[in-house]
Symmetry: C2
């Protein structure tokens, strides 16, 4: 009997980019997805903040100077980044490639306007998913339900979310996070990962190996 | 709480075309898939054989004259057909569309050279999967294992299967049916159906409905 290999383990890894406006429930869904997906790599981020005691290069972060980080951004070496407390934090393209080449997948949570950039830098190796609430009404209800923000802040978030959802056609997939169904939604996204690994263009190496010669 | 709707029920149906050379285990996998897939329609075939007692139009078959059937073939109204005992049997495009428009999916088992035709006739509504054994060796072992054919017949089937697998790049997906893992393979194909329903182009109607107005 041949050793069983899951569909996700037959081909090189892929970057799964997940974006979702406020109220989509992105955090919960991604947390569940990380527990379910069998072959996820963890990327070490790069930062310009100083190394702290007990930290190590390539373990906690890749430590860069501001000049290095900005040069990397300029040359397309950074998939996504943010600035926090005056320091850059981001995901290096080289780090993503290391994980993918090792046959693992990478899940990245990215702002709506950053997903296109990853698609440009990673090409076919990136698959993008927009996560949405089942309706604009429900999404607004979720935002209000938090109860910690005043009406102006909520109204601004609702407006921004509406604008973001209009970007859905630029994504490869749209996943709907029904209320109280976060696990179902995570499994939907898992199906996307599983299916994407079976795309015939990704399977060509496998097809080559199918025969023991160079017939194809 | 909103009513839960599965990813497969949010969008219009799709035709899933499955082809697999001898030894791929196609029959078993499709049988399991039919048990697992939640939203499959059953298409009534068309035939030129005479109606028998107790049969009814549109229940057992759509009954056509030879002239009608051949005209339908000529005008692209037949997705696939075969001739058995001098009669045509086939799947009408109109029947497939009826099922898809009702929001159900349709699984069709099609010879390798017929899958392209369905893609041409159904466009984006058809998704094609080639099912293969894990290796040429294993596929040959399966063919020999049946033990009912002589060596010449087996050699011809092996040769034909090799030719067929070279068509894999023309398919959307390639699913590997590992030995003794037919259910796993059926679940892989189920992931394809689930993922395809989430493709952003298929989700556009949903996105329109997301807002209660014509914003997008």
């Amino acid at each position: 009997m041949s050793e069983h290999r899951d569909a996700m383990e037959r081909t090189a890894g892929m970057v799964l980019v997940i974006s979702g406006p406020s109220g989509s429930g992105k955090g919960t869904v991604i947390e569940i997805l990380r527990g379910l997906a069998p072959n996820l790599g963890l990327s070490v981020s790069a930062t310009t903040r100083a190394m702290r005691e007990g930290e190590a290069e390539g373990v906690n972060y890749y430590y860069k100077t501001r000049e290095q980080f900005e040069e990397l951004i300029a040359e397309g070496g950074v998939l996504e980044y943010t600035i926090y407390n005056g320091n850059y934090y981001g995901t290096l393209k080289s780090e993503a490639e290391r994980i993918l080449d090792a046959g693992q997948d990478l899940v990245l949570e990215i702002e709506v306007d950053g997903a296109g950039q990853i698609k440009r830098l990673m090409g076919d190796r990136a698959t993008t998913v927009m996560l949405i609430a089942p309706s604009a009404e429900e999404q607004e209800r979720r935002l209000r339900g938090r109860g910690t923000e005043d009406d102006d802040v909520i109204a601004a978030r609702v407006k921004r979310a509406r604008e973001e959802i209009k970007e859905a056609p630029k994504y490869d997939y749209v996943a709907v996070n029904e209320t109280d169904r976060a696990e179902e939604c995570a499994r939907d996204i898992l199906s996307i990962i599983r299916a994407e690994h079976m795309r015939s263009d990704r399977m060509m190496t496998y097809i080559h190996d199918y025969f023991d010669d160079d017939e194809i």
